[in-house]
């Protein structure tokens, strides 16, 4: 991105303008493009797809009326929310209340700076990319606490407090799981981590050794908790807290929180794909830059979106955990396990500094075996249920 702007400046496109101003303009343009052409449609379509997937898992239909198969439902919802009155409670801390959704939104949107969509398609390849990502996602906590506090409502405050406790706790296993990969890769740059992996599954860090495999599961669980997703959605638990920290919000401000939540799902998937699943790595196809760029983008998108689907799937499966269960899961199980993963990987790197290819392939085969066993269980469940099979995605 910066190289591209430098090139434009050298070619003399912006003569007479200070360099910093050009950079600022380029950044604004990039943010606008990412927000309106990628993040907004993505978050919207994710919200629709989640409702459809979730509905099918509960033997329902889901929204299928607005547009073909309801695919424009998110537009209808967005327009409706735009037209709603923007209420601010009389007793609320008005400035904080108005500001909170934007803080949450910025915390989520800033992660897109380091997400590598392709070998050349990244806003900035920071050498501390993953650290930056963990840092800016923590900004979400500040926004949620602001929302919870400024609403002057006990539901909101409880939701905000729960959320803060939850996100701060789950940063630790998530950070340790990420650290495992950083140790193996030897770099914190997202591009560097992807370059350390190959296109083949056994070259992924997921199958590097048994510890990274567990670290991946830990990372995904912790990331779900950080994103306030079911089964860890106690900050907005409908049955206890009305809507948690968003209770007092209405209209577009309300939508911003959910915008961030659904967009954050994609960020979770993208980070999982970057760290563990080989990112945009594709088999060598010769010197075709455009095709390569497109294929890389598609591969990365699919890998990331698969985990979005898994998050929807988990939401359709697991019940919400209690606050004490949430904390004991984090501190008694996930933190020790992630330390074991970190130490195990460190020991592994001492024994096999170049990695162990036989172990990688064995781990890959284990992964395939788990998948096969999983689909055996699925077919068992299908045979023991009454409703008929219906493989078409539309209804």
């Amino acid at each position: 991105m910066q190289a591209f702007v430098d090139q434009l400046i050298q070619q003399g496109y912006f003569q007479g303008t200070p360099k910093e101003l050009v950079y600022a303009g380029a950044m604004l343009l990039a943010a606008f493009a990412v927000l309106s052409f990628f993040v907004a449609p993505l978050a919207g379509i994710t919200s629709w797809l989640e409702r459809r997937v979730w509905a099918r898992m509960q033997s329902r239909v889901g929204p299928n009326r607005v547009g073909p198969q309801g695919i424009l439902q998110w537009l209808a919802d967005g327009i409706k929310n735009l037209l709603k009155e923007d209420l601010i409670p009389a007793a609320a801390d008005k400035k904080l209340f108005a500001l909170a959704p934007y803080v949450v939104f910025v915390g989520f949107l800033a992660t897109f700076v380091v997400i590598p969509f392709g070998s050349r398609l990244v806003v900035a390849d920071l050498n501390i990319g993953i650290l930056y990502l963990l840092a800016v996602t923590s900004l979400v906590v500040v926004g949620i606490l602001m929302a919870g506090w400024s609403s002057n409502n006990k539901w909101s405050l409880l939701g905000g407090m729960r959320s803060a406790a939850q996100i701060v706790s789950y940063e630790i296993p998530a950070g340790l799981a990420v650290l495992t990969v950083i140790m193996v890769a030897g770099t914190m740059s997202t591009q560097g981590i992807i370059k350390g992996q190959g296109w083949a599954p056994w070259d992924w860090y997921l199958f590097y050794n048994p510890f990274t495999f567990v670290a991946f599961l830990l990372y995904f669980t912790a990331a779900l908790a950080e994103g306030n997703r079911t089964p860890f959605d106690i900050p907005e638990a409908e049955s206890e807290l009305v809507a948690g920290y968003v209770t007092e919000y209405s209209g577009m401000r309300f939508l911003f929180f959910f915008f961030a939540e659904w967009g954050n799902l994609y960020v979770i998937g993208a980070v999982a794909a970057t760290l563990f699943l080989g990112g945009w790595q594709i088999p060598p196809i010769g010197d075709r830059p455009v095709l390569t760029a497109i294929l890389q983008f598609v591969i990365f998108f699919l890998k990331a979106y698969f985990w979005v689907f898994v998050a929807m799937w988990v939401r359709g499966t697991l019940p919400r955990v209690r606050v004490d269960q949430l904390m004991s899961l984090c501190w008694k199980y996930m933190v020790p396990l992630s330390f074991i993963c970190l130490l195990g990987t460190a020991a592994w790197m001492v024994i096999w500094p170049q990695g162990n290819r036989a172990a990688s392939i064995a781990m890959f085969l284990l992964g395939v075996a788990i998948l096969i066993f999983f689909f055996k269980r699925v077919s068992f469940q299908i045979r023991h249920a009454r409703p008929e099979l219906y493989l078409k995605p539309y209804i």
Binding site: V53, A55, R56, M57, Q58, S59, R60, V61, W313, V314, G316, T317, L318, K332, Y333, L337, F374, R377, V378, S379, F380, Q381, I382, A385, P387, E388, L389, Y390, L391, I395
Partner: protein, 188 residues
């Protein structure tokens, strides 16, 4: 030691039960939803699938209504209002209005039971949604219309005879459960 084995067992059970649960939800993901997409994406209108004795919104066949006011008197919540006026010149008695307030009606069926000709009866219709409660008051008389007088020795006009037959058949099925062949026998 026991605490440690319980710890390991907890982890093991968490992973395996989540695995099994995910398999169950995935198997549901590939099944046909059991939702019926009422009202537009069903093969047959729901009204057509309802039994004839279904107590839907009341309807009145004004052609065979004798104006005996039995239904108005028996209605426990007076949702039926009938107005009858005699024409001074011709001595002909006419309906001025016959309104049923569906908002009030509780579908008890008493009016359909007492009707001598079976002109007031429950239809299969149940979709009464409208923007204004006034729209739920059904007006069966738009302009003054004569009362029906049953003729001695049966109906001669074939069109009217058909209507009388429908009314009597409804009475037989709905309002007289004791009689053999009535609804009481049907339910066993």
């Amino acid at each position: 030691m026991r605490a440690f084995s319980a710890y390991i067992r907890n982890i093991f059970e968490t992973v395996t039960t989540i695995f099994e649960g995910m398999a169950i939800t995935f198997s549901h993901f590939v099944r046909r939803p059991i939702t019926i997409q009422y009202p537009d994406r069903i093969e047959k209108r729901v009204q057509e699938t309802l039994p004839r004795r279904y107590r839907g919104i009341l309807e009145v066949d004004m052609d065979i209504c004798t104006g005996c006011l039995a239904c108005e008197r028996v209605c426990p919540i007076t949702c039926i209002t009938i107005g009858i006026e005699a024409d001074k010149a011709t001595k002909q008695r006419n309906f001025t209005h016959f309104d049923i307030d569906i908002c009030k009606c509780m579908y008890c069926g008493l009016c359909a039971e007492v009707c001598p000709t079976g002109s007031i009866r429950h239809s299969q219709e149940f979709e009464g949604a409208c923007y204004n409660p006034a729209g739920l008051v059904r007006h069966f008389v738009t302009e003054p219309a004569p009362l029906y007088k049953p003729k001695k020795g049966g109906e001669t006009d074939p069109k009217m005879a058909q209507k009388v037959d429908i009314g009597l058949k409804y009475l037989d099925e709905f309002a007289t459960p004791e009689k053999p062949g009535g609804s009481g026998a049907e339910e066993g």
